[in-house]
């Protein structure tokens, strides 16, 4: 079965992508386009890419992920790659490949936490003393 695009799910202001098939050139380009469009359309603040199903992450996939991260960053969305397998991580380290600009998390839950935390950090400081009812 050939897949001609990778589905992008919207969870509030977070986009969730689960890569289940080998990422080929066309597919990767398509995913980049789709994501860029959806980030703008939805006003997404975060992109979570799940690669649990990937047995192999080569330099091409690595570069694709890095590109997605850069594009998202320009559009003010943070990219988090989740679910990298130990074997994949070891291979990447042995090959000296890095994922520049990409944050990672163990699973989608942690990634959502991270996005929530960084949004909290970005939000303007609210001084609770100001909003509290004035002392009599």
């Amino acid at each position: 079965m050939s897949v001609d695009r990778i589905p992008v799910l919207t969870l509030g202001d977070v986009l969730l992508v689960s890569i289940q098939v080998d990422l080929e050139d066309q597919l990767a380009l398509r995913l980049q386009d789709d994501l860029a469009e959806r980030i703008v359309a939805v006003g997404a603040r975060g992109v979570i890419i799940d690669i649990t199903a990937l047995d192999i992450v080569d330099s091409f996939v690595g570069r694709t992920l890095a590109t997605i991260a850069s594009v998202s960053k320009v559009l003010d969305a943070e990219t988090i790659v989740v679910g990298m397998r130990p074997a994949v991580a070891i291979t990447l380290v042995e090959l000296g490949l890095q994922l520049p600009g990409v944050r990672t998390a163990l699973n989608v839950e942690y990634a959502l936490d991270m996005l929530a935390a960084s949004r909290l950090a970005e939000s303007p400081v609210v001084d609770l003393a100001d909003t509290a009812p004035a002392a009599p």
Binding site: P86, A89, I90, V93, E94, T104, A105, N107, Y110
Partner: protein, 282 residues
């Protein structure tokens, strides 16, 4: 040695069975210094003796002959059991060589008998070498088995808290072990969904560039998977080595001991530890 000599030897061994066996058992017993009971030793040697006579009767002239199969089988059992019970190689091989003397005592003094005995000696030498080889093979198997067990034992991954696992490393780290540690740790991170790992190297006696490299790789791999590693238990000596070797730990968090590392990881997870004061002293 030809088949006729083998036949003659079989006759001698059968006729003088009791005398030879007694002499053999006595000699071997002295070398083993009471670490094997008499009955056990006699049973073992008797078994070998029977197999030896059968081999000569079948006309086998070398240890490799197919009719010597039973004899070699009995001997390899013997040397394996010796190896497992901690006897030395000499003590094992002498069990075979000690048969020469009692046979010489009964075989007679004439030239034919002596030449038979020389052939017999040669055959025993082959058997001795065979015993030695089996002994060494058994020892090697024992050692590699233990090394494997040690590898399994020495790399536990323990859970310290929700989301925090630790690997207490004890002993020398080499490439093979580092590999095992790396794989175990990363797998444990996935299985338990822990975003923090503590590598405790209190028990590592020395560190070199290669070991440091392995530790770094593990940490970078964990980071790629979305987990953070903390190194704890760096001893002063090792800290000096790390600096003098020019190893850069970069942004990797290092803590003096496991408690500090745990506290750091807890704090990163917004867990606060509060001592309850005001409790009445007991």
């Amino acid at each position: 040695m030809d088949a006729k000599v083998a036949q003659r030897l079989a006759e001698v061994l059968t006729a003088q069975r009791d005398a030879i066996l007694q002499g053999w058992v006595t000699t071997v017993r002295e070398t083993l210094r009471g670490r094997l009971t008499d009955a056990e030793l006699r049973r073992q040697l008797d078994e070998v003796y029977v197999a030896l006579v059968a081999t000569f009767e079948s006309g086998a002239t070398t240890v490799n002959a197919s009719s010597a199969g039973e004899l070699t089988g009995v001997l390899s059992d013997l040397s394996r059991s010796r190896a497992q019970h901690g006897f030395s190689a000499t003590e094992t091989a002498i069990s075979v060589f000690a048969l020469k003397e009692p046979v010489r005592a009964v075989i007679g003094e004439d030239t034919a008998a002596l030449s038979d005995h020389a052939a017999f000696s040669g055959f025993l030498d082959q058997l001795g070498l065979f015993t030695f080889e089996t002994y060494v093979a058994a020892r090697d198997a024992l050692i590699s088995e233990q090394a494997e067990q040690l590898l399994e034992l020495s790399t536990p991954v323990v859970k310290l808290w929700d989301g925090i696992v630790a690997v207490p490393l004890v002993g020398t780290l080499d490439s093979a072990r580092s590999q095992v540690v790396m794989e175990r740790l990363l797998q444990a991170l996935v299985d338990s969904g822990s975003p923090y790992a503590i590598l405790d190297i209190t028990g590592v006696p020395a560190i070199d560039t290669q070991v440091a490299q392995h530790i770094m790789k593990t940490i970078v791999a964990a980071q790629l998977m979305g987990a953070q590693c903390v190194i704890s238990g760096i001893r002063p000596q090792i800290a000096q080595t790390i600096v003098s070797l020019g190893i850069e730990f970069g942004e990797i968090v290092t803590k003096a001991n496991l408690a500090d590392a745990l506290q750091y990881a807890l704090r990163q997870q917004d867990v606060e530890i509060i001592r309850r004061t005001g409790r009445s002293a007991v």
